[in-house]
């Protein structure tokens, strides 16, 4: 099993975060494959929302590059206006959403807007929120997936595009967010859970270690008392992942 890629481990872990019967805001790439995997294993009745207005009870039969690709529209349960699916988010009808980002801090706040102190004169202008900030604001749970890198997992992000737990504690409630916040951060090295709005390392992937994660994390690492190795995907799970992404286009990109 040593040939399991970080992408495959992340997809397997992300799929475990989806519960049967849930309505989930699905992203592209790894989250999409996680949704496919969850549907085919433990969560056959999960519903996927795509922010441009698509609702699917069955994932598209072929690999997508964007959520607007024709295969994602064909045989969708519904294809309507974006505000309809965003409205479901605000109505509290979406249990979980996937998101990634350029930077995340220890409270799960994500930056996809700009690197540098001044948003209007940035060092690097990133593309922006898209629907990410809406998912982070309004979904009951946020599942964050990103490459593990000291420059990406920072003590403080330059710009909070998608709110996590702000400064921790009851920050979300104070700013007016009625529920939500990241439930998990899945990286190329490990899995974090959040306690009182603080990221805590729950597991490290095979081949990594607590020390490895610490060396590559930009905040002072908190480690769960029962930290362990991330569960390897079963042969059946790997078969499903590789069946959907046979070339390893998304799951073996080496990021």
């Amino acid at each position: 099993m040593t040939d399991v890629s970080a992408g495959e481990l992340m997809v397997a872990q992300a799929a475990r975060e989806i519960r049967d019967g849930e309505t989930v805001f699905v992203g592209m790439r790894l989250p999409l494959i996680a949704f496919v995997l969850a549907k085919k294993t433990h969560a056959p009745s999960a519903i996927g929302l795509f922010e441009l207005g698509i609702i699917r009870d069955e994932p598209a039969g072929e690999l997508l590059y964007t959520m607007g690709d024709n295969p994602n529209v064909e045989n969708a349960l519904w294809c309507g206006p974006m505000l309809a699916v965003m409205g479901m988010l605000q109505r509290g009808e979406v249990q979980a959403g996937f998101i990634g980002g350029a930077e995340i801090d220890r409270h799960g706040n994500l930056n996809t807007t700009a690197i540098g102190a001044d948003r209007m004169h940035p060092t690097v202008a990133l593309p922006g929120s898209g629907g990410g900030a809406d998912i982070a604001s309004l979904a009951h749970r946020l599942i964050v997936i990103m490459p593990h890198d000291k420059r990406r997992l920072r003590e403080k992000v330059d710009f909070i595009t998608s709110p996590g737990y702000g400064t921790g504690g009851d920050w979300r409630r104070r700013v007016g967010l009625v529920h939500g916040g990241p439930s998990v951060l899945i990286t190329t090295l490990g899995v974090f859970r959040f306690e009182d709005g603080d990221a805590v390392l729950a597991s490290y992937h095979p081949g990594s270690s607590v020390d490895d994660v610490r060396a590559n994390t930009g905040w002072q690492l908190r480690v769960a008392s029962d930290v362990r190795e991330t569960e390897l995907p079963s042969a059946e799970v790997l078969r499903i992942i590789r069946g959907y992404d046979p070339q390893g286009f998304w799951t073996r990109r080496g990021e």
Binding site: G53, G68, V73, M120, V124, D134, S137, T161, V178
Partner: protein, 282 residues
């Protein structure tokens, strides 16, 4: 002039219209849209843009938009103003514009720095229960530009596939221009409930096959994914961007010439064969 364009998100982006804006050297435009993929990047790089009101500016296939980066990081070819949105907030701003509301109150973006840095937003409390909310003011573009499969000469336009915020944008705008793949000489059956914008709002219908390449158009053609990557690689430098524009925009007189330049690559994207109906009800 403010233009809402690319409002269906990833598909049905009217690139043909944007390229004509570049050829006509339009300046000082305000661009409005949630995610208009590399269309916004191209207009910014060509110096057509003064302000962007958007949720996302980049390259959906490849990530960052090099022209957007140069404009913000270096002021090249000019400084632009950015009003950050999320997809939901810009949808609500256009909906407010569409229904003549001054603003819409929302729970999204509370705690996001977007709420703080977009100067048009106001944080408030609900008069009903005292909870915090964000007031998103209406956006009323001068013009909405939509691409669709079929439109009649009166401007009744049918967009199949995802609408994104196209409907709200068209209603919020003062007027609309429709680019259509097919403009039938005669109307066989009119299905008014399928039209994305009232014909009374449409000031021009443009018969422009292939208007959305490299984005997809449902049941007509697939996304040219590799084209987005090629654009990304070619435009890493300002000089590279200028060369790209000279080749694909100013170097061709119109869309028909652009499609001829694509050659067999364009034919390979055709989705009509796959979707050709055996019997067409209307």
């Amino acid at each position: 002039m403010s233009i809402a364009i690319g409002c269906a998100l990833e598909p049905a982006i009217p690139f043909a219209f944007a390229h004509e804006l570049i050829r006509q050297r339009k300046r000082d435009l305000t661009l409005i849209g949630p995610i208009s993929d590399i269309l916004f990047d191209q207009l910014i790089g060509a110096g057509c843009v003064a302000r962007v009101e958007a949720a996302w500016v980049g390259n959906v296939s490849a990530g960052l938009g090099h022209c957007y980066r140069r404009a913000l990081e270096q002021g090249e070819p000019r400084r632009i103003e950015v009003r950050d949105h999320s997809n939901f907030s810009i949808g609500q701003a256009l909906l407010a514009g569409a229904i003549g509301a001054q603003y819409i109150a929302t729970k999204t973006l509370l705690g996001s720095d977007i709420a703080r840095t977009n100067p048009t937003f106001k944080e408030s409390t609900s008069p009903f229960d005292g909870s915090k909310e964000l007031l998103v003011p209406a956006i009323t573009p001068d013009l909405a530009v939509l691409a669709c499969q079929v439109a009649d000469r009166d401007g009744s336009a049918e967009l199949q596939g995802p609408w994104g915020v196209s409907y709200e944008a068209a209603l919020a705008a003062k007027s609309a221009i429709v680019l259509a793949e097919i403009v039938p000489a005669e109307i066989v059956v009119r299905t008014p409930n399928r039209a994305i914008v009232p014909a009374t709002k449409v000031v021009a219908v443009v018969h422009e096959p292939g208007a959305c390449h490299p984005s997809s158009l449902s049941r007509m053609y697939q996304r040219d994914h590799e084209f987005f990557h090629e654009y990304h690689r070619a435009t890493r430098t300002a000089l590279g961007f200028d060369r790209w524009i000279a080749e694909w925009v100013t170097g061709v007189p119109d869309r028909a010439a652009y499609l001829r330049k694509l050659g067999p690559r364009w034919d390979a994207l055709d989705a009509r064969v796959k979707f050709a109906p055996t019997t067409e009800p209307n």
